[in-house]
Amino acid sequence: MITFDNVTKSFGSIKVLDGVSLEVKDGEFVFLTGPTGAGKTTILKMILREILPDSGKVIFDSKNVTEIPVKEIPQLRQQMGIVFQDFKVLLERTVTENVEVALAVSDVAQEEWEKRVKHVLKLVGLSNRAKLFPSQLSGGELQRVSLARALVINPKLILADEPTGNLDWKTAEGIMDLLEKINKEGKTIVMATHHEGIIKHGKHRIIHLEDGKIKQI
């Protein structure tokens, strides 16, 4: 599903990725690990086409992401669900509305919204929080909203950037259980983390980065 072929990226004089080559297969759950600044988020941003590599190829679903025209970026992103460390939920919208936004963005028919939103909110355990605003939710609940928004569009791939970074261990475990469940349903998951406990949570492939290079797969 994802292939990085000798990808290099520098920000000024700092080399963030140095000849990175990796592959993620359909239905896989892969951890991207490494210390801060190792290049984990850069890899996720390249898959999202938020940034372009200086050299090398990034292939997603048989398409070279680096060659996609700017106007086709939204369609590329609509095939992915994204979960962020800082949740990135819309503060002025209720839980339901936050999830509905993803459906509106992906142009899903409005008649389907209610059914889909109910389903994902049940999946992430937020059915009883549907009408609440983000300011009325805990950190774990906010991350579940972010996860529900990512899942509601039924994406091929879920990119999670330190989704447990702002959560206590118990809440983080809950989120991990959810991601495991989603992965078992056939979704491909690429998760960036430096949380040792989380990495040991499931027996998944680990891609360890250090100074922009892959040290261990």
Partner: protein
Amino acid sequence: MSIHTKTAVDAIKRSPFQAISAIFVLALTFFVATTVSILVFSSNELLSYFETRPQIISFIKNETGSEAIIALQNKLVLDARVKDVKYVPKEQALEIYKKATEDNPLLAELVSPSIFPASLEFSVTDLKLAEEVINEVKNEAIVEQVGFTANIGGEKSLGDVVSRLKAISYYLRVGGIVFVGALAVTSFLVLLIIISMRMTSRKGEIEILSLIGATPAFIRSPILLEGIIYSLIGVISGWTLSFIFWLYVSPSLLSYFGAIPILPKEPLSFFLLFAAILGAEIIIGLAIAITGSLIAVKRSLKKAR
């Protein structure tokens, strides 16, 4: 309610004072625009009224036979300096008098057609030729007297009246366009500033939407809708205020100007005139809103990149 409409309405509710400022400026612009449009319309009607008035009236001597009158009429029709020749018999002259004095029927009862002379009314193609033509017509045997319509406001000739009206109409039009233009630019800038502020406050939301795959059109839609809502409310408020103002003053104006149709007297024509202005203003308002919003969105997204 669509997600875009809801976002736009929520944005307005969150910052009501920004919304009020935009609507107030737009309403003021379109109040003035409607008022100036009516003033320009009225000045045009006034000008057209005087321009189409017969400039010269030759009163025919009593007991003149119709053949002689027709002969003079034909002579005038064939004269290249003369246009719009019209014969007004005694009966029609009486009718005109009655109509002019309909407020006081007693005046009409006291007269009979015999006291009104028949006349040949006509205009000249160029007012410079008026004196020459008048002198020639005065020498016609059947002509008792020649009148030259003018002497309004002390002007020496109708030409002066028309020239003065043309000047007033011109200055009204130019002044109106400049004033309304300045207000339209102000509205445009206010809208631009408010939409830019809105974009800044929505920066985080725009970033999230972009990351989850929102197209630029999706991001733009609520902002455009917001501009359109301001614009429509502004146009309708300004137009309604001006409409009420003209409804209030039109009876006095129509009575003051009498036979001069500075405003449509028929209610339907009056409403149609205002409806046409509203239609034009909605188009202009939407153009201001869409252009202003698009520029603000483009600038903000460019800055955000």
